[in-house]
Amino acid sequence: MDHNPAVEHAEVLVVGNGMVGHRFVEAAVERGLPERRPLVVVGEERHRAYDRVHLSSLFDGTDLAELTLGRDGLYDAPGVRLVLGDRVVALDPGVHQATLASGGRISFGTCVLATGSSPFVPPVPGTGAAGVFVYRTVDDLAAIRSWATGCRTGAVVGGGLLGLEAANALRLLGLDTTVVELAPRLMAVQLDEGGGRALRRHVEALGLHVLTSVATTEVATSRDGRAVGLALADGRTVAADLVVFAAGIRPRDELGREAGLAVGERGGIVVDDTCRTSAADVYAIGEVACHRGRVYGLVAPGFAMAETVAEHLSGGEATFTGSDTATTLKLLGVDVASVGDPHAPGAEIVVADEPQGTWQKVVVDADGRVTGAVLVGDTRPFGVLAECARGTITPPDLLALLRPDGGGTAPLELPDAARVCSCHNVACGAVRAAVRDGYDTAAAVRSATKAGSGCGSCVPLVQQLVNAELTAAGRTVATGLCPHFDVTRQELYEIVRATGIRSFAELVDRHGRGRGCEICKPAVASIFASLGSGYILDGEQAALQDTNDHFLANLQRDGSYSVVPRVPGGEITPAQLIAIGEVARDFGLYTKITGGQRIDLFGARIEQLPQIWARLLDAGLESGHAYGKAVRTVKSCVGSTWCRYGVQDSVQLAVDLELRYRGLRSPHKIKLAVSGCARECAEAQGKDVGVIATERGWNLYVGGNGGMRPMHAELLAEDLDRETLVRSIDRYLMWYVRTADRLERTATWQRKLPGGIEFVRRVVMDDALGIGAELEADMARHVASYRCEWEETLADPSRLERFVSYVNSDEPDPTIARVEVRGQRVPASAGVG
């Protein structure tokens, strides 16, 4: 063991702070990993991770702060340390140590290589001249910008994605710019000849010059060593005061090579499906990794790898098994999309309007399957084509799909036999039949047919089918959450989960309209909270919360609030009882025992809430989340500890369950209970989740509730051991959180599912949808990231500012008046008597 103090230790060392390295940090923090295994991140640039894909926007009025990735404070999270402007220069996987350019050394438990790639500069004379640049980093752009002052002409070597981005940058700097491409067309990898032609037409219309099928042989230089142009293989020359090489990228795998890690034939550090390299405890992700012989130059597969490793290091079982390269983007203002392999041999369907600059080609194989597609100028059919290429739907009438009025979707054209959901093998006809049977929202159809309840990728298509069928039948399409969102809560949940959007403004801008309302705002806030986005009152989230969540207390009829500390399992010490009593006495609060075995303190004014909670926290109590649509209580009987009839320790289990699920936000409140024997004193069968002890283990009941329409819970499984019990509850609750409608309790949700409890059993107990591990991981993340919201609030004085009755006066709210009834103070307005 090396005890040299000069050696810093990182449980997890992340080498590289580019887009993928950053995504890994985000994914790790989401899972609470750094608190258990501290992270050190080493990035060689002076800047924190930024959006490299949109670099040229820096010349279009965007500043670096807008491109910077991750929320503020991400790198200040506990257990995360970011080192910028330094570089790992050597790696020794054997002794688990890395050496920095600055001379420091870091020992590590696990190392994640995310070094990305470097621009490829062809070995031609003159590339060392002043005025020759590559296009990769913010510093590259700064150098280009500063050199461009006084320049008139520019040239970019490379007409791919990166080259066109670079050309756009030079155009925005006001240079007369020429793009030189070795291949016969622009974006040769992603586009076919016609697509390249359409793109070229757009690019040239912007004033850029394009030369294809020609190699660059030399950078011509002046006597004082400045670039003046390019010499080309066909003898032509291009005048350029500034030259950018963007002719491809190479994985930055030197560290791995020198450390003896296995490297792919064409570069890239070889990784397996968990992104582990040939050395134990060393992983590689993103453009530096070579997975199944392939190096991905796109950011999406890199993100998937980052998620995989974060999940893996958090104890999960995720794998990366490859990624398809279907992609759609806007390049120089032109919509461009590519699906599958557009160069594969096969029959082609082409719809083009070359004067208008549109080109759409679909390639189908001998069996009629879509194997590739190119779309330039009009990418609306991208979604359907990507699904076809993935095999999730069988091809519709492709020609109709591509026609200008096809709208890119044409779900009506899909034959009844066409498969829409491959996870559950649901045909379009089944979806249409469900609509005709009276299921009139996508969510209802999903419950009825299971279409879209697997990976979720066909949800938009299902929505279109439902809408089309409703319209055809002359029925109203009313699927939306509210006038601002046309999608349901479940769809919104999937969107937030898939896109990572954590801002209401961005969500309503991209997936809705207008400014939002009292329906969608709290629904979205709840989704953000379920997916773990930190303190619920930070920044914009504060404006989304219902008054209860906004003041972390329950609004009462006179405008005052009530306060409920958590009493896990209903078990409370005499000292805590006394503390609660003293707080109630000192603040003049009315006290009542709740149905969930806790104590509710009524009548607090807003400005009293922080003072009350300071006292309660001091007594070791914490927020009970009575104010939230969230897990409330786990009620229990006294169990085998005292009771003559108890067969299991129901109190211990109830306490453990409550501490596990506390704070989980959900479509509606969730109540649980545990009974220690079949006498059922805890009334578990009237709860969302009820557990009843047996001689051999625990019986699990789900989907019960009290309230206006009492429902008995249904038996899900019998005689479970504790581990299986907890896993089953994890899955059940997370599945509900993910798929229920707004304000829909488990009882309604469960009974709306096709097959009801039988279906729940297959999904929760038998993992029939294959989502069990995902649901458990989501719950593990929630458990790891739980914080008492009142502790968080009191820890930051700036969060206390909102707790006043009036912003311009210390006067207590005079409208809150009290009279005494049965020895306690109640609202004067209550109409006593």
């Binding site: 207008g514 400014r515 309302c517 009292e518 404006a543 008054t547 009755s805 311009n808 709210d813 409208t815």
Partner: protein, 124 residues
């Protein structure tokens, strides 16, 4: 009240009410309200994401509780609204009209920025 111009004072005198300084503009959260005392009356003041300010009675006529400042801000046909946190009736912030109960409305008050402060003057 040195922040308030002579013109405003004249206007205020005519309306029978002075401008009351409520809080620095930075104290407001976009799309959220605060309560303030204006000439002894509770007033709810809102900042919208468009930068527009609005002020109405804080008292919710449907419940009788002084709570409208704590409602969620929304939008109905482009017009900003607040939904009472008590029983969810929506009020138009510009007119005070209750959208869910035609017979009910709240008073609308004048509100504007003055040298970085929000100032309110009671309406009729």
């Amino acid at each position: 009240m040195s922040m308030v111009s002579a013109v405003d004072r004249v206007a205020a005198a005519r309306a029978g009410s002075e401008w009351t300084r409520v809080c620095p503009a930075s104290r407001l959260t976009p799309e959220r309200g605060v309560a303030a005392l204006v000439d002894g009356d509770p007033v709810a003041v809102f900042l919208l994401s468009t930068g527009e300010l609005a002020a109405i009675d804080n008292r919710d006529p449907c419940s009788g509780a002084s709570v409208l400042s704590r409602g969620l801000v929304g939008e109905v046909d482009g017009a900003p609204t607040v939904a009472s946190p008590m029983y969810k009736q929506r009020f138009e912030l510009r007119t005070g009209r209750c959208l869910d109960d035609p017979g009910v409305s709240v008073r609308v008050h004048d509100v504007r920025l003055d040298d970085g402060f929000v100032v309110v003057r009671r309406g009729g």
